[in-house]
């Protein structure tokens, strides 16, 4: 049995502490936004989770290419880990965004480019896991997963630019007003501290979860091999 690396245990603890500090900074330390009030505080975690989710999706597309070239299952496990963690983070981003949008835009949801792309991206990666679930052979599962993650990873940004471009040309669609009216604001120094600390925190949490998930994948792989050995 492979024991848990000490660095990973330390990273777990650090992640929890950082999350605690970041929560304090976002909820107590940062000043209350004048117009929107306390609901603006979800912003810090909203951006934190969104940034790490996008980082994970980009990593996953890179792992796709590496896997398809090298055909080493290690890269497949990295890819699954990145997508799984990112999928959850992105879901949190959407939920936090909706909580903010209800008082700020007076609606839980609008079909704005970012929101639409977020929804489509979530659906792409849910489909990714449904595809993987239907395949038993690990090599084939890895190949199909890599191909789909690559196609999805290319399509998601095109969706974003497509919606944004068209709506710039046809500004009648919802959300065509300027940034200030949509709930934009400028950050004070204290807000910036909370903001960048949240970014840092979620990056560390992402690395920690990513690492844990890769380790889990490695152990699953080992279990599979042991099972094969027993049956043979």
């Amino acid at each position: 049995m492979q024991s848990k690396p000490v660095t990973l245990t330390i990273l777990d603890v650090v992640s929890i502490i950082l999350l605690g500090i970041s929560t304090y900074l976002a909820l107590v330390f940062a000043p209350t936004e004048l117009v929107m009030g306390d609901v603006q505080r979800v912003f810090y975690f909203h951006i934190g989770t969104a940034w790490t989710a996008l980082l994970g999706f980009i990593l996953a597309a890179v792992f796709s290419v590496i896997y398809l070239v090298k055909k080493d299952l290690k890269w497949d496990r990295y890819q699954v880990a990145a997508i799984e963690v990112s999928l959850i983070f992105f879901f949190i981003t959407i939920v936090l965004g909706s909580i903010w949008a209800r008082p700020a835009w007076n609606t839980w949801w609008t079909w704005d480019p970012r929101l639409t792309t977020a929804a489509v991206t979530e659906l792409i990666y849910i489909a990714y896991f449904m595809l993987r679930q239907g395949i038993d052979d690990p090599d084939r599962r890895a190949r199909f997963g890599a191909v789909y993650a690559l196609v999805g990873g290319l399509s998601a940004p095109i969706t974003f630019f497509a919606i944004r471009l068209f709506r710039t040309i046809h500004p009648v669609v919802i959300g065509g007003a300027n940034a200030e009216a949509e709930g934009g604001f400028s950050m004070t120094a204290d807000m910036r501290v909370a903001f960048f600390f949240a970014l840092f925190t979620f990056t560390i949490i992402f690395i920690d979860l990513f690492w844990n998930r890769i380790r889990l994948g490695d152990l699953q792989e080992k279990v599979e091999q042991l099972k094969l050995k027993v049956t043979m």
């Binding site: 398809l68 199909f144 191909v147 290319l154 095109i158 497509a162 068209f166």
Partner: protein, 235 residues
């Protein structure tokens, strides 16, 4: 081996010959059975019928939703065709036969894309006049036909790659639309915008962007599918 293929062993260097052999085989099999075509066509007409009830397509609504209804119809009917066309290969072991042929694997991809595209275009060519007659709207405009062609190329290009994967899974009957729809959102989006532009008689410059996007999408995704197709048929 696949039925109706005139030349069972095309020389490995002859790419075009291999592609046309695959296309020919598919078309001939389809002309004999007509099961794919009739299913897609009847399904398309049913979807239009459902939209008619669901949206109360009166004159005012029709103007704004025609391109949306058309593309939703094509997208749904398209999945039916894509799924069936690959499932036939898988069921009767034809895919293995095709893979054994001493040709480049991408020739199989392009062959399937062209035959799938042909089925889709034939269905579209029949749906358009039917829709025109039912709703008294002229859909035979060269611009609109070009958009339909470009949109169908992108849709089928990605769809052929994904249906090749989905038929090899346990959940093959339900998986294709789930895999395909989120990925072809840009195609549907751009195609609806561009079709609307032509139907409303706008200046070309106002909807040139979606047309460019369609062309870019077609090129990017067919190139990607061409590069990765080996990986989805490898045994």
């Amino acid at each position: 081996m696949a039925n109706g293929q005139p030349n069972a062993q095309p020389p490995s260097g002859n790419f075009i010959k291999a592609v046309s052999a695959v296309v020919w085989k598919d078309l001939q099999a389809e002309f004999r059975s007509r099961e794919l075509f009739s299913a897609m066509l009847v399904f398309s007409l049913l979807i239009i019928l459902i939209f008619n009830f669901a949206l109360e397509l009166d004159v005012e609504t029709r103007r704004s939703v025609t391109s949306g209804v058309l593309w939703a119809t094509f997208a749904f009917a398209g999945t039916l065709g894509l799924n069936r066309s690959m499932a036939i290969e898988k069921d009767r072991g034809c895919l293995d036969g095709l893979l054994l042929a001493p040709v480049d694997r991408s020739a199989i991809y392009f062959g399937k894309v062209i035959s799938n595209l042909a089925f889709m275009l034939i269905v579209e060519i029949i749906v358009l006049p039917v829709y025109s007659v039912l709703y008294n709207i002229n859909l035979f405009q060269p611009g609109l036909l070009m958009v339909i062609l470009l949109g169908s190329i992108g849709y089928v290009g990605v769809g052929t790659l994904l249906s090749t994967m989905s038929v090899q899974t346990r959940t093959r009957d339900i998986l294709l639309p789930i895999l395909l729809f989120p990925v072809v959102v840009p195609v549907l989006l751009a195609a609806v915008k561009a079709s609307n532009g032509f139907l409303e008689g706008l200046e070309l410059s106002e909807f040139l962007l979606p047309i460019n996007l369609l062309i870019a999408y077609d090129i990017i995704f067919i190139a990607v599918a061409f590069m990765v197709f080996d990986n989805v048929v490898e045994e």
